[in-house]
Symmetry: C2
Subunit: 201 residues, 2 copies
């Protein structure tokens, strides 16, 4: 079959298509590049419409990664999607979900967030699956717990996803969000990958 | 914050919402359950509109998994999203991408498919990332190579994704596809998880 076989050319054409078809004017500097990569991960140019962010989130996340901060992920798929060789300081990519037992008063995803406490201050958080992980993180911070440098809060689904993301927007944490039901591990991993280095490929 | 913390209840409500809001009548028996789970993975009920399939794909994939067939994945994120404890025969989940060198005449994703040959006959293929992997698989089969039992062909993106999926639909392979640009590792991993066991959670 005839198809484009040059990976660099596929990336170039993909990013050009995204920039031609989506509305990115409201995203400052580096964040435009992050949103392009999020769109690239899901194939939907209209995702840009649902992106919400705090003005300082790009610098906060970028600087934290450059300083070697760990990246906490709510799901193994998120951790798996982060390209290690893009990370500026061989940053730790941590998913604690395999270390929690059966669900109790909350979901396993929320219980896993409890295990982030020791290194959460100044860390980057990447949530791409469980609304309960994001809700629990917000409760933990509101109760005076450690504050991450930036929260990429992009859980997906029908029960609690939209609500947890609105709660994050209403918080005083630096945040990047896809409003509504859409989200997922590929989108949030793409955001981390774009924040990790300014190289597009 | 007040939110649903019971994982089983979150699943139940999620699947009920999906069934209330999406058009699933054209999906026979087991396939309806697969599509529900694909929608669950991406938060979009209209995904159902773009799903295409061969009539025998459910039985072909289900029977292959029950017989212990391996699952070949084009990306680590796909492999990472497959819930091992759902698999009926401790089936091997294989991603060969880490084993190929730098891209040459084709992408690394396509080169990785070459390494599937030995066990590809009768296997289940789950493609959630690279159109070039799907194109190369179709070329390999068309050239008389081993034939997988079923191909879940759900690559994502702007260059080649839609075209590779139309090529799969036109082939004589058992297939499940999301037409167009949408797709991704979470959706195809969800399809595998649904095919692996009839239990919904």
């Amino acid at each position: 079959m005839t198809y484009e076989k040059d990976g660099a050319e596929i990336y170039r054409q993909s990013f050009a298509t995204i920039r031609a078809e989506s509305s990115l004017d409201r995203f400052p500097g580096g964040l435009e590049r992050v949103v392009v990569r999020m769109i690239h991960a899901c194939g939907m140019v209209d995702l840009a419409t649902d992106v919400a962010f705090s003005p300082g989130v790009y610098d906060a996340a970028y600087d934290a990664l450059q300083a070697g901060a760990p990246i906490f992920c709510d799901a193994q798929m998120v951790a798996s999607g982060i390209t290690r060789k893009r990370l500026p300081k061989d940053n730790d990519v941590i998913c604690t979900l395999p270390h929690v037992g059966p669900a109790g008063e909350n979901t396993r995803s929320a219980m896993a967030v409890e295990l982030w406490r020791d290194r959460l201050e100044g860390a980057v958080v990447a949530i791409g699956n469980a609304p309960t992980a994001l809700f629990h993180l917000l409760d933990l911070v509101a109760a005076g717990g450690p504050r991450p440098a930036a929260v990429l809060g992009i859980p997906v689904g029908f029960i609690g996803a939209a609500e947890s993301k609105e709660a994050l927007i209403s918080s005083d944490l630096e945040h990047l969000v896809v409003r509504g039901r859409r989200g997922g591990s590929a989108i949030v991993a793409a955001a981390v990958n774009a924040l990790a280095t300014v190289v597009e490929q």
